[in-house]
Symmetry: C2
Subunit: 223 residues, 2 copies
């Protein structure tokens, strides 16, 4: 895969570390397994597109099916309409980020984040084939809650028609990660400030049943 | 504030619900306190800009100071160079999203997310005033870890010079939230599928000291 976020050109976090030899900790990667693992453990991306020359970034649900990503939205929404089959497609940038830790260094300068991110550049196209659309919608549900797509009422024809789905191939992709502890200057090591990592995790809490749920409906095993 | 994400034009999640009367649950908001609260409880945004006509979305640390946001990056990074004082500034879209819950409906169609998001459109400009730059950098540290900016070594002149900071006014801003349970069609209420909300929370774990930290350095109270 090509790099979409060259290390020398852009830096989401702690860019100043690039000037010192810590490349092994913070780097761009083109490893397919890493890209898939980052994409498969999130379900909200930030989708960027250009509208009237200006950038727009919206949070959006997505799912991966093989080497394709699917995002969905209203048939009336701007990016969906712009990506209609009659058009050449919509140039997008789809970014997924996990925050894994706050990195506290002795110096303010070397504070950083541990994170994993994937950036996908490409042209999004509207999915019109009903079979592919259904596969994509199942994947969107399954991606967020594995096991759920076969344990809910599938979309009917009217619902399918009311939902638009965009497809984006995983062609121009890069992953970027930072792990490990702070990277203080040697001269700062004896300063009296705490240094280390505060882990950040995202967790799911106890499922809260809908008030109108029949008490005889059990909590599914996948929850 | 103006709306940057009109309800009828874009929908990050569950857009199909727009066709039925659930506006009270999912809506755009221009309330300043809500915008501030969403911005102040995150520290990573997704910053979009246009490069050679194509969208780019990068995860970036940010902080709010009054009605301004600051983001930082390498002085060599593309968005920072593009936003240099010699230019007219860089049109950006800065988006912050909290995921609060997975909403499971009886129908696949009505699955949704509870979330809070803020979208800021505007022109980012590079901060050149040393005093404002220092204020911004302190805010960036303090935003992620309150109490930390006064408990670490401040940036020196060389470090300040190596760090670029962008400023973005909170002028064209919208907030959007969804709360509450699933919104099933009445005909689906008796289906045998579990329905409700799975809360999603982001938490900080036990601080992990750097291996080279002196054992005599106590864990600060703010951690």
């Amino acid at each position: 895969m090509e790099t979409a976020m060259p290390e020398t050109a852009e830096a989401p976090y702690e860019p100043t570390d690039r000037t010192i030899p810590t490349r092994s900790r913070e780097r761009a990667s083109y490893d397919r397994e890493l890209v898939h693992s980052i994409l498969d453990t999130a379900y909200v991306c930030h989708l960027g597109f250009v509208r009237d020359g200006a950038p727009v970034v919206l949070p959006t649900l997505y799912a991966r099916v093989g080497e394709r990503l699917y995002v969905h939205g209203s048939t009336g929404s701007r990016p969906l309409r712009m990506a209609g089959e009659a058009d050449p497609g919509l140039p997008v940038c789809l970014t997924v980020t996990h925050v894994d830790g706050l990195v506290l260094a002795r110096s303010a300068f070397h504070h950083s984040l541990n994170y994993r991110s994937v950036v996908v550049h490409g042209t999004a196209r509207q999915v019109t084939d009903p079979s592919e659309k259904r596969t994509a919608l199942d994947a969107l549900v399954e991606h967020a809650v594995p096991g759920r797509s076969t344990d809910s009422r599938p979309a009917n024809t009217k619902e399918l028609a009311a939902t638009a789905v965009l497809r984006l191939d995983l062609a121009e992709v890069s992953a970027k990660t930072r792990t490990g502890g702070p990277n203080d200057d040697p001269a700062d090591l004896d300063l009296p400030y705490w240094a280390g990592v505060v882990p950040v995790t995202t967790t799911r809490g106890l499922p809260d049943p809908s008030p109108d749920l029949s008490p005889s409906t059990p909590l599914p095993a996948y929850l």
